[in-house]
Symmetry: C2
Subunit: 279 residues, 2 copies
Amino acid sequence: MTTDPRLAKLSLNQRTTQRWSVREAVDGCVRAGIGAIGLWREPVAEIGVPAAAKLVADAGLRVSSLCRGGFLTAADERARAEALADNRRAIDEAAGLGTECLVLVVGGLPPGSRDLAGARQRVADALAELAPYAGERGVRLALEPLHPMYCADRAVLSTLGQALDLAEAFPVQQVGVVVDTFHVWWDPDVWRQIARAGARIASFQVCDFLTPLPADVLLGRGMMGDGHIDFPPLRRAVQAAGYTGDTEVEIFNAEVWATDPDRVLATMAERYVELVLAD
Amino acid sequence: MTTDPRLAKLSLNQRTTQRWSVREAVDGCVRAGIGAIGLWREPVAEIGVPAAAKLVADAGLRVSSLCRGGFLTAADERARAEALADNRRAIDEAAGLGTECLVLVVGGLPPGSRDLAGARQRVADALAELAPYAGERGVRLALEPLHPMYCADRAVLSTLGQALDLAEAFPVQQVGVVVDTFHVWWDPDVWRQIARAGARIASFQVCDFLTPLPADVLLGRGMMGDGHIDFPPLRRAVQAAGYTGDTEVEIFNAEVWATDPDRVLATMAERYVELVLAD
C-alpha cells in the first residue's frame, strides 16, 4: 500500500481491468494508492448504482467519469427514442454515482448508410435534447472524439475541433469534451484545439497507440510507453488550458486484460509517473 | 472493347491490378476503354522508363501519376541523403514517363521515435530541397495526406489542411496535394480544405473504406460501393475547386488482387459510372 502523492490525480478506467467487478477495482485502486476510478455502466448495473456509489465513497475514491452514453446516430424514430431514453438513464446513473462526467461515444453510420453529414446532424439534435436534462442533474455530457479509423462504425465525431464546434452550442456546465491521447495524438491541429477547449475539458484519458494495429482495431490501445505517443506535451497542454481533474488510464488490449490486474495497476502507476508526468 | 465517353477521365492505378506488368496493365486499360494509368516505380523499373513510356504512348493512354516518392522523415543524415537522392530519381522517372504528378507518401515516425513534430518538420525541410528540382523538370510533388491510422508508420501527413499548409510554401507548379477519398472522407473539415486546395489538387484518387478493417490495415481499401463512402459529394467538391484531371482508382485489397484483373477493371468502370459520376 502506497500513498505516493504523485498518484493523487491518477484514475483507473475500469475497462483497463475489465475482469474485475466494481468492488475488486475499488479495492485494487486502494491497494495501489490510486485516487480515482472511471466506472462503466455494465459492471455498475451488476450491483446497482447505490451500492457502487457506497463502495467508492467508503474507499475514499473519486469517480472521475462514467462510461458511457451516446450512440445517437440512428435514423429511425424508434431507435432514436430508445437511445435518448438510455442516455437519460445514463445521466441519472452518473448523478447517482456522484460524477459530473458522462462520457459519450456518439455512434457510427447506421447500417448501410453513407450519409455522414446526416449522422453528424442527428448527434447535434440529440445533444439539444439531452444537455438540459444533464445540466439539471449536475452532470456534464463529455463528447469523446474517436480516432478517425472508427468513423464508420463507432463515432462520427472524429476530431477535438469538431467536438468543440458541437459543444459550444451549449453552456459549459452541460457539454464538455474528452481529450484521449490515443484518439487525438496524430492531429496537427490538436494544440490549438486543446487551448480552445479550456474549461470544456471534462476528462483527460491516456493510453498509447500501438503498431501494428491488432486484428480488432478497437484493441490497439496500449500501456503508456508501448507505442508512439509522446505524453508530456499533451498533458502540459491540457493543464495549460486549465484542466485540474484526474488523468484516467483506459486501455483496451487483450494482453493487458490477460495480465494480473494488480500488476497492471502497478505498471500503470509507474508508467504514469515516468512517461506522463515527466517534464 | 468499349469507348464509353464516361470513362475518358478514369484512370487505373497500377496497384489495383498488381499482378499485371506495365504492358499487361496498359493492354488491360485499352481493352476496358480506360483513358489513363497511374504507374508504380517498381514495375516500371522492370522494363525501364523509356520502354514504359513508349508502351503507354503507343496505346494512347495518359500517365495520371507516378507512385511514389516520399519517406522523408529519417532523422539521421545518411538515411536522409539517400531519401533525397531516391526522390530525385523518382522525379526524373516521372519526367521520363511524361507525367506531371509524383505522389509522395511522406513517411512515419523513425523506429523508436516519438517526435512527431520533428518528423513533420523534416518533411518540410526535404520539400524545400526537392521542390525546385521537380519544378525544373515539369514535375509536381503531390503530397498525399494519409488516413490518421497510418500516422505512426506510413505518413505523418494526416489531413488535407496540413498538406496545404506545407504545399503553400511553394509555387503551385512545384507542390500540390492528392485528394484520396479513403484518406479524407471522415474529415469534418474536408469541404473547406478541398475548396482551399483549388489548383493545388494534383490527383484525385477513389476507393472505399471497409469495415471491419482487415488484419493488415493497409488492405482496408475497397472497391467503390463495398464500404462507407459517399463519392459524388467529394467528386463534385474537387471539380468545383477546378480540378479537371483524371480520377484514379487505387485499391489495396487481397480479394481484389485475387480476382481476374480484367474483371476488376470491368467492375471498376461500372462502379465508377454508377457511384462516382452519379449526381
